[in-house]
C-alpha cells in the first residue's frame, strides 16, 4: 500500500459513518471528524492494534459489515486463559500467484486452514475448472486419504503439522507419488519436515503460506518462491493491499526494514470492499527477519518468519500447548517445582515422519525424579478439551515429554516457549 492509500484507509475507518471500532480504539469523541494523517510521524503515532483489542469487542460491534455479508468465521485459540476470538471473513483476493505453481485441475485435499474447502472450489471455478475438494479431517486422516485416492487428488493444503498425519495413509493408498502440490501454513516449516516431504512426495512442489486467523486479507506474505531446501526455507514479500512494518517488541519503536533487521511484524491490510475488518497496525505476534532489501523478482523487501515474538502457545497436532496451561499444571506440583519454566520445542525424525519433541526445563525446589515429574506433567497437561499430552504420546502424535532441572538467576527473564 502506498502512503496515500493508508491515509485514505485511516480516514475511511475513523469516519462517523460505518464501523466504530477504530474511533473507539483511538478515543475519538462522537462529534470528532475522521483522523487525517499527513506524515509518517502521524501514522506511527497511531496506537498499535492487538489481539486483546479485538477480543474486547463483540463481533457484531467489531465487524464493518452486517453479518449477512460475512462468508464465514475463523476462530483462533484463546491464549493465556482468554476466550476464543471469532474473526469475520469475506473472500480471498490476489491469490492467482498460486497458478504459477500448480494447475489445480485435479481435486485438492484441504483443511479449513489456510483456506476453507469451499474457497478452493471457488478458486478452481473462477479459473474455469470444475471445482472439487476433499475436506481434510485431522481426526480421520485414513478416511480422507482413501477419498483423496478415489477422487484422484493431486494437491494438499493444510497446516504443516498435518503432513506427517496424512502422509502414511497417502503412501498406503498408493497416491503419494501423484501429489504435485503441497501448500503448508502454520508454524514455520522445519528442515526435518521439509526432508520428510521431499522423500514422501517426490513430485510435489512445496509452497509456504503465511496467514493468520485475524487477517482477513490473507496471506500476510506472498511466497517469493517454493521451498526447495535453500535457506531460509520460507521467504515472503508483501502484498499490494498490505503495508508492513517491523517494530521492536519491547520499545514498540519502528525498525527500518533493511537486510537482517529483526522485529515483530505489524500489518495494515485492506483488500478493498467488501471488507469485514480492515486491519490497521495489527501486531501479528510473529518475529520476522528481513532477508533482502529488495526482492529481485517482486521489488519489495522480503522476509522470513522466525517464530512467535512472545510465544505463549504453540500449535501442535490435535491441539495447542499453552504457556498458562503448563504453569497451571506446575502449580499443582508445588512441593517439587515452581511455575517458572522454559519449553524448548523441535521436530525430530520419527517412524512416520517428524515428531513434535519437547524439552521442559523446570525450576525445582528440591532434588526430584525428573522422569516422574515429566510423566506427571504429561498426564495432566491438556492440549485440547478432550486430550492430554500423554494421550497424544500414546497415540503416537508426539514424543515423550522430557524434563530437566533449570535454575534461572533470580529476576532473570526467560522465554517460556521456544521453537527451535
Amino acid at each position: 500500500m502506498s502512503f496515500n492509500q493508508i491515509k485514505e484507509l485511516v480516514a475511511l475507518t475513523t469516519g462517523k459513518e460505518g464501523g466504530q471500532f477504530y474511533r473507539r480504539l483511538y478515543g475519538l469523541r462522537p462529534d470528532a471528524p475522521s483522523i487525517k494523517i499527513n506524515s509518517l510521524g502521524d501514522w506511527e503515532s497511531l496506537p498499535l492494534l492487538t489481539k486483546d483489542d479485538l477480543l474486547a469487542v463483540p463481533l457484531k460491534d467489531r465487524s464493518f459489515l452486517p453479518i449477512s455479508k460475512i462468508d464465514h468465521l475463523r476462530p483462533s485459540s484463546g491464549t493465556s486463559g482468554k476466550g476464543a476470538l471469532f474473526s469475520p471473513r469475506t473472500y480471498l483476493r490476489e491469490m492467482d500467484y498460486r497458478l504459477a505453481y500448480h494447475d489445480f485441475k485435479r481435486p485438492i485435499v484441504s483443511y479449513t486452514v489456510p483456506m476453507m474447502p469451499h474457497w478452493h472450489e471457488q478458486f478452481q471455478q473462477a479459473h474455469g475448472i470444475a471445482g472439487c475438494s476433499i475436506s481434510f479431517d485431522p481426526k480421520n486422516p485414513a478416511a480422507c486419504a482413501r477419498l483423496a485416492r478415489i477422487a484422484g487428488a493431486d494437491a494438499l493444503s493444510f497446516f504443516a503439522f498435518h503432513v506427517p498425519l496424512i502422509a502414511p495413509h497417502l503412501v498406503r493408498e498408493g497416491i503419494a507419488e501423484h501429489i504435485r502440490f503441497i501448500e503448508i501454513a502454520g508454524e514455520a516449516c522445519t528442515r526435518a519436515l521439509f526432508e520428510f516431504m521431499r522423500q514422501t512426495f517426490p513430485r510435489a512442489l512445496i509452497l509456504p503460506f503465511y496467514g493468520s486467523s485475524e487477517v482477513e486479507d490473507s496471506p500476510i506474505g506472498m511466497p517469493c518462491r517454493p521451498i526447495t531446501g535453500d535457506m531460509p526455507l520460507a521467504l515472503y514479500h508483501g502484498k499490494p493491499s498490505h503495508y508492513h512494518e517491523i517494530i521492536d517488541p519491547d520499545t514498540l519503536e519502528v525498525v527500518e526494514p533493511t537486510q537482517d533487521a529483526e522485529g515483530e511484524l505489524v500489518i495494515t491490510a485492506y483488500p478493498g470492499e467488501p471488507a469485514s475488518f480492515p486491519l490497521i497496525r495489527f501486531r501479528t505476534g510473529d518475529t520476522v527477519r528481513v532477508v533482502e532489501n529488495e526482492c529481485a523478482e517482486h521489488g519489495t523487501w522480503s522476509f522470513t518468519v522466525l517464530g512467535r515474538t512472545q510465544m505463549d502457545f504453540i500449535k501442535i497436532q490435535g491441539g495447542v500447548l499453552r504457556a498458562d496451561e503448563i504453569a497451571r499444571v506446575l502449580q499443582t506440583m508445588q512441593s517439587d517445582v515452581t511455575d517458572r519454566y522454559e519449553l524448548h520445542c523441535t521436530d525430530e525424525p520419527g517412524h512416520h515422519g517428524p515428531l513434535f519433541t519437547p524439552l521442559l526445563r523446570v525450576e525445582t525446589k528440591r532434588p526430584v525424579d525428573v522422569a516422574k515429574i515429566a510423566a506427571d506433567i504429561a498426564a495432566s497437561l491438556r492440549v485440547s478439551p478432550t486430550m492430554t499430552y500423554a494421550d497424544g504420546v500414546a497415540e503416537g502424535r508426539y514424543a515423550r515429554l522430557i524434563c530437566e532441572e533449570f535454575h534461572p538467576a533470580p529476576g532473570a527473564k526467560s522465554k517460556r516457549i521456544v521453537r527451535q
Binding site: 464465514h72 480421520n140 485414513a142 480422507c144
Partner: protein
C-alpha cells in the same frame, strides 16, 4: 447386486469423471468405506430449504469434516445469506462460545451429538440456540433429541453423509412428535413395494438404486407429498 457392491464396482472410474465425492459410511474406520459420486453442481437442497424456513443469522456445523459436507453446507448457507462456522465436534467450548459471541444461532449436527452438545451449551451459556438441523443416520433410530424440546428443528435422514433420503417440509418441521415424519427428498424416487430408493442421474453421474431401511407411509401431508415414518 446390493448397494455397496454396485458402488464399489465403480470406485476406480470416479477419478475420471467430473463429480463430487462423499463417503459411503458415517464411520471413518469402516473398512468398506468407499466414495459415492454426486454431480459437481449438486447442492444440499433439503438443508437450504430448512435454512430458508429457519432464517438463520449464522450457521454452525458440528459434523465430522470427513463427511465432506462443508462445501455443500456453505452453498446452502449462502442461499440464505448466513455465514458458516465449523466447530470440531470434540471442541464443545468453542462451539458454545461461537453461539454466545460469534453470532451463530443455528446448529447443524447429527442426532448422536445433539443432546450432548445441547446439555453442554445449556450449562455453559444458560440457554440453547433456537434453531437446529439434525441429521439422522439411516441405520439409527430416528428419535427426536429430548433436550431440544422447544427449539425449531429440521430433521433429515441420510443414507450416507451428504445423501439425504428423507427430509421435512415446513409443516413436518413444525410437528412436535417424538417420532419424526418425513418426505422422500425431492429429485429422487422411492419404490415402496421393492423398498428401493433411486437417485437421479445427471450428465456423467448414473442413477443408483439403493436399499434403504424400512419406512412406512401413512398419509399425505398438506404440502401434497406422502409422509413416511421409520418402521420399528
Amino acid at each position: 447386486m446390493d448397494t455397496l457392491t454396485e458402488i464399489q464396482a465403480i470406485q476406480d472410474t470416479l477419478k475420471s469423471i467430473r463429480c463430487r465425492i462423499i463417503p459411503t459410511s458415517f464411520e471413518a474406520d469402516d473398512s468398506a468405506l468407499s466414495g459415492f459420486p454426486l454431480h459437481p453442481l449438486s447442492r444440499w437442497d433439503s438443508c437450504a430449504q430448512a435454512l430458508s424456513e429457519l432464517n438463520p443469522h449464522g450457521v454452525m456445523m458440528r459434523l465430522p469434516l470427513f463427511w465432506q459436507l462443508e462445501v455443500l453446507l456453505w452453498y446452502a448457507s449462502r442461499s440464505v445469506r448466513a455465514p458458516v462456522f465449523l466447530n470440531d465436534p470434540e471442541n464443545m467450548p468453542v462451539g458454545a462460545a461461537a453461539l454466545q459471541l460469534g453470532g451463530m444461532d443455528t446448529v447443524v449436527t447429527e442426532q448422536r451429538d445433539a443432546s450432548t452438545f445441547a446439555d453442554f451449551v445449556k450449562k455453559e451459556n444458560g440457554e440453547l440456540p433456537e434453531k437446529w438441523i439434525i441429521v439422522h443416520r439411516a441405520q439409527d433410530r430416528w428419535d427426536m433429541p429430548a433436550s431440544l424440546s422447544g427449539c425449531k428443528i429440521a430433521q433429515e435422514v441420510h443414507l450416507f453423509p451428504g445423501l439425504p433420503i428423507l427430509s421435512q417440509c415446513a409443516v413436518l418441521m413444525g410437528e412436535r412428535s417424538d417420532i419424526p415424519r418425513f418426505h422422500i427428498t425431492r429429485g429422487n424416487r422411492y419404490e415402496y413395494d421393492s423398498k428401493v430408493f433411486e437417485t437421479a442421474s445427471k450428465d456423467e453421474i448414473p442413477s443408483f438404486r439403493l436399499n434403504i431401511p424400512p419406512i412406512t407411509t401413512s398419509e399425505v401431508c398438506s404440502c401434497g407429498d406422502s409422509v413416511y415414518t421409520q418402521t420399528i
